[in-house]
């Protein structure tokens, strides 16, 4: 096993194993900063892409436990509003009441949960303006006047989220503005003439750990930055084969002075780390594959309630709040 200053930071992807993964899981070996001081420039964050509901950013210099905690917090602890109670007055459609209620709960709502309080256990369904949002869905399917039995001859046969109406309580219209579903074209149910749906829905604040409908993200995941090290020069046919082993854009062929083509690494970031190189024994010893242990590439995709650039600070706020709660308890038992 080679020890070099480079290997401290990198884990190696060998053919049948991954080595050098542990990050000092034992005491007395804390690398870098001494236990007492926290280096203010330890972390580096670079935003790579930010579009609408997608966010890709790099978190460098972080411990894997903190990166994972951030991922777990966004997934299950950052709150959202979602429909929880459905009062069904009329449902003659083909879909059962409970299935319909389940689908309504999964609809993402474009509301900022920070403006609301958690509802108390045992409080009535209707709730107050501070902890509940009320919606109504009232549709009846009819035949189009003078139309035959072909398709497209019904009115209101496909029920979308645009049919859901928000009924503001108290001051909500002023304080919150709009509180409808994020997308207008989510299909809820299909009806035929004579079917009718009439119901009232109540949305509350909840966390993803309680039910996945409350999770603010479609998903959030991270991966480590791959590294590829060319140990030997590779030319011509071998270089073409080597290039095909990696994802597109990772390796390119550059012409040399002799007229040959040489394999050159452009950007290992996009590599999918499929270790295809090991399928060709003659190419396997030309490259060294690895990953940088403290460089996390995060991907956050929000469902629409909150922008992804708000989710990360909220998750860190929750972590800080947890620390504060326990610090208070420790100090109380001391005094």
């Amino acid at each position: 096993m080679e020890f070099s200053s480079a290997s401290v930071n990198k884990l190696s992807l060998k053919e049948f194993e991954v080595v050098n993964t542990s990050s000092y899981d034992f005491t007395g070996h804390a690398p870098g900063v001494a236990g007492n001081k926290v280096d203010p420039n330890q972390y580096k964050i670079n935003i790579i892409k930010q579009e609408d509901l997608f966010l890709e950013f790099d978190l460098i210099g972080c411990e894997p436990s903190i990166a994972n905690a951030l991922r777990r917090l966004i997934l299950s602890d950052v709150p959202t509003m979602a429909i929880e109670k459905v009062h069904i007055y009329q449902n003659t459609s083909v879909m059962q009441d409970e299935v319909l209620a389940h689908r309504l709960g999964l609809i993402p709502l474009k509301v900022d949960p920070r403006k609301f309080k958690y509802k108390e256990k045992g409080a009535p369904d209707e709730g107050t303006e501070e902890d509940t949002l009320e919606y109504s869905l009232k549709v009846k399917c009819k035949n189009k006047q003078g139309a035959g039995p072909e398709a497209d001859s019904y009115i209101d046969d496909k029920i979308y989220t645009k049919h859901i109406q928000w009924i503001p309580k108290g001051n909500q219209e002023v304080d919150i503005g709009e509180a409808g579903p994020v997308e207008d074209d989510i299909l809820i149910n299909k009806l035929r003439p004579g079917h009718e749906m009439a119901m009232k829905m109540f949305a509350v604040k909840g966390q993803g750990r309680d039910h996945a409908k409350f999770s603010p993200v479609a998903t959030v995941f991270y991966r480590l930055l791959p590294t590829i090290n060319l140990v030997k020069d590779v030319y011509d046919q071998d270089a073409i084969r080597l290039q095909k082993c990696f994802s597109p854009g990772v390796m390119e062929l550059e012409p040399t002075k002799n007229g040959r083509k040489k394999a050159v690494i452009i950007d290992p970031r996009d590599d999918a780390c499929n270790r295809n190189v090991y399928r060709y024994p003659e190419l396997a010893d030309c490259v060294e594959l690895g990953k940088v242990k403290d460089h996390f590439i995060f991907n956050v995709e929000s469902t629409g309630a909150l922008p992804p650039t708000d989710l990360v600070p909220m998750a860190l706020d929750i972590l800080i709040e947890k620390c504060d709660t326990f610090l208070k308890e420790i100090d109380m038992t001391n005094t």
Binding site: V33, Y43, N46, A69, L319
Partner: protein
Amino acid sequence: MSSLLPPDKDGGNRLSVLEGDTSSGEECRTYVFRKENHTLGNCLRTMLLKNPQVQFAGYTIPHPSEDVMHLRIQTVEGYPAQSALRKAFVDLKTHASQLKTKFVTAVDNFEKEGS
């Protein structure tokens, strides 16, 4: 702005100590956390392992059906396990605040560059 975490409906303390250690001194303790899991446990363990006065730090979730986490701390002579735990929380809070400021600055810079 209301708190991001839901209020604790069961009341009582979220943190308690497993019995049996007090006779051996202040340097070893198993702390019992209610309603916590790997999110906090792994972070605390990492912060504790960075402390040179901690001899042993590990966490476990005894059973997945119960929302309980145990954190075992053993320290050098003269340094109480509770101080190590307190320091771990303070360090974790500092790291989280730093991450937050770095992230918010990075977002601001990115938006300024774009416009």
